[in-house]
């Protein structure tokens, strides 16, 4: 009993510390050490690491292995979900800065962003503790019928939708107005990914109604959404490395 209380209190403390660290890293006045995160490449690297970790931790073999060390049953799922939410938050910050959206920035980072992030992570942990999940199961798949697990899943989806929603308009605007065709394509991919993610969060009641056997079909939506966003980011990186903008918009006068 004492062990459980200790683990739970430490977990909540970690959430708080994690939230404060994210707040500190993304704040406008940051210490020298965290400036790397303000660079686009630093943010992308962190997002990649967190997203990869989230997917790797959910792989059955890795999941089972990590479960040996995690003090809470299915605590690996909580870690994976925190990594995924962290990746989404970093992606949100990255795009909010790139598209110059003040609204999105104020939603994702700052006090509001910190508060929502901490509430979401605490909610995921609380629902995990409230659920009856003795056996290790990646993504809590075999416990999908339990209301606590349903709520746990929905919190992650809702947090994702919360971060991505204010970015929809700037991304959509760029997908129409970007002077470079490749840039428009990249923004469209990101936009489709965002719409799918937000759509899944909004359609969650439908997912519950469909039952646990449809779980992987709805998971596929998330995979497609992630793939779209990653491809969109890759397209921008490709355009940057090949200097497509400079090649497309020739400002020289030569007509040779």
């Amino acid at each position: 009993m004492n062990d459980s209380i200790y683990v739970i209190s430490v977990s909540f403390m970690l959430i708080l510390l994690g939230g404060l660290t994210f707040h500190r890293l993304t704040a406008k006045r940051t210490p020298e050490g965290s400036r790397a995160l303000l660079r686009p490449s630093g943010r992308l690297a962190l997002m990649g690491i967190l997203l990869t970790a989230a997917y790797v931790f959910s792989m059955p073999g890795v999941y089972q292995f990590l479960e040996i060390f995690v003090p809470i049953s299915n605590g690996t799922d909580f870690i994976a979900k925190c990594c995924a939410m962290g990746a989404v938050a970093v992606l949100g910050v990255h795009l909010a800065i790139a598209y110059g959206s003040e609204a999105a920035t104020s939603w994702i980072i700052g006090k509001r962003g910190l508060l929502v992030g901490v509430i979401a992570a605490s909610g995921v942990l609380s629902t995990l503790l409230a659920a009856d999940i003795p056996e290790a199961s990646p993504r809590l798949e075999i416990y999908q019928v339990q209301p606590a697990v349903e709520l746990n899943e929905w919190i992650v989806l809702a947090y994702t939708a919360y971060v991505l929603a204010p970015l929809l308009l700037p991304v959509f605007r760029d997908s129409r107005r970007n002077p470079m065709r490749f840039g428009r394509l990249a923004s469209r991919l990101i936009f489709v990914g965002f719409v799918l993610s937000i759509g899944r969060a909004l359609a969650y009641p439908l997912e519950l109604h469909a039952g646990p056997e449809a779980f992987y079909i709805f998971e596929l939506v998330t995979h497609v959404s992630t793939a779209c966003v990653v491809l969109g980011l890759w397209a921008f990186a490709f355009a940057k490395s090949r200097q497509l903008a400079r090649k497309t918009f020739d400002i020289g006068l030569s007509i040779k």
Partner: protein, 242 residues
């Protein structure tokens, strides 16, 4: 826009030309599959009609006039106005002429206009030359093209033959000239003398030459500014996201 596949087939039959794709491919120089697809989809571009007409020795203007979209093509004199001809002279050539007029020894006049057409902005320059008021809106309305799309077509030198003919139709100028400008028919086929641009340039009044150069430079300045802004935006975003 293009002519319908059935009209094209009827036209071929009227002239005793085989409708087989391989024969048409041989006449036009296009791949037989391409010609076959054009007929099957019911959209035969004007370039194919002109290609067939050249292949069998019919004048391209007479061939196009057999189609309802172009039936009035040869109803006006073919000769272009001086403004139309000058619209097809690049501003670099205009400036060479200006320099020559300043000092004919230091800047001898070229025998020929150096830069051919279409050149950057030549479609827009032609529309400006025949514009009597609202030609862009009239063309957009009559060809059922969105006005913004027409603007981008003009910026990118992508005016279609039917749009060129429609523009000429509403502005009361030669309807053949537009087809020369968009490159569907040659200068010779459009009855443009070989030295028409040089002659038009030489007889141009000084004040008209300076005004034309000024207009072209204004356009060039605007285009450069737009490209610079587009470049800055695209580069900034790719640098920040990529």
């Amino acid at each position: 826009m293009s002519v319908s596949g059935s009209d094209f087939k009827q036209w071929l039959e009227r002239h005793g030309i085989s409708t087989s794709a391989s024969e048409l491919g041989r006449l036009t120089g296009l791949h037989r599959v391409t010609v076959g697809n054009q007929i099957r989809r019911g959209n035969v571009p004007e370039t194919t009609i002109v290609g067939v007409a050249r292949g069998i020795g019919i004048h391209p203007i007479a061939a196009l006039a057999d189609f309802k979209e172009y039936k009035d093509l040869d109803s006006r004199p073919r000769t272009p106005t001086a403004a139309e001809v000058l619209s097809q002279v690049h501003h670099a050539d205009l400036m060479v002429e200006l320099q020559h007029r300043f000092h004919e020894d230091l800047f001898p006049r070229n025998d020929r206009v150096k830069i051919g057409f279409p050149h950057d902005g030549s479609h827009r320059a032609w529309i400006d030359a025949i514009d009597t008021g609202d030609v862009r809106h009239d063309v957009a309305e009559k060809t059922e093209t969105a006005i913004t799309y027409l603007f981008s077509q003009l910026s990118e030198n992508k005016l279609t033959p039917i749009q060129a003919v429609t523009a000429a139709r509403v502005s009361g100028t030669s309807m053949v000239a537009g087809l020369v400008v968009v490159g569907l028919i040659t200068m010779e086929e459009g009855d443009w003398p070989e030295d028409i641009r040089e002659t038009a340039l030489m007889v141009m009044k000084n004040e008209d030459l300076v005004e034309l150069i000024q207009q072209r430079l204004n356009l060039l300045q605007r285009r450069l500014r737009q490209r610079k802004e587009a470049l800055e935006y695209a580069e900034k975003l790719t640098d920040l996201i990529g």
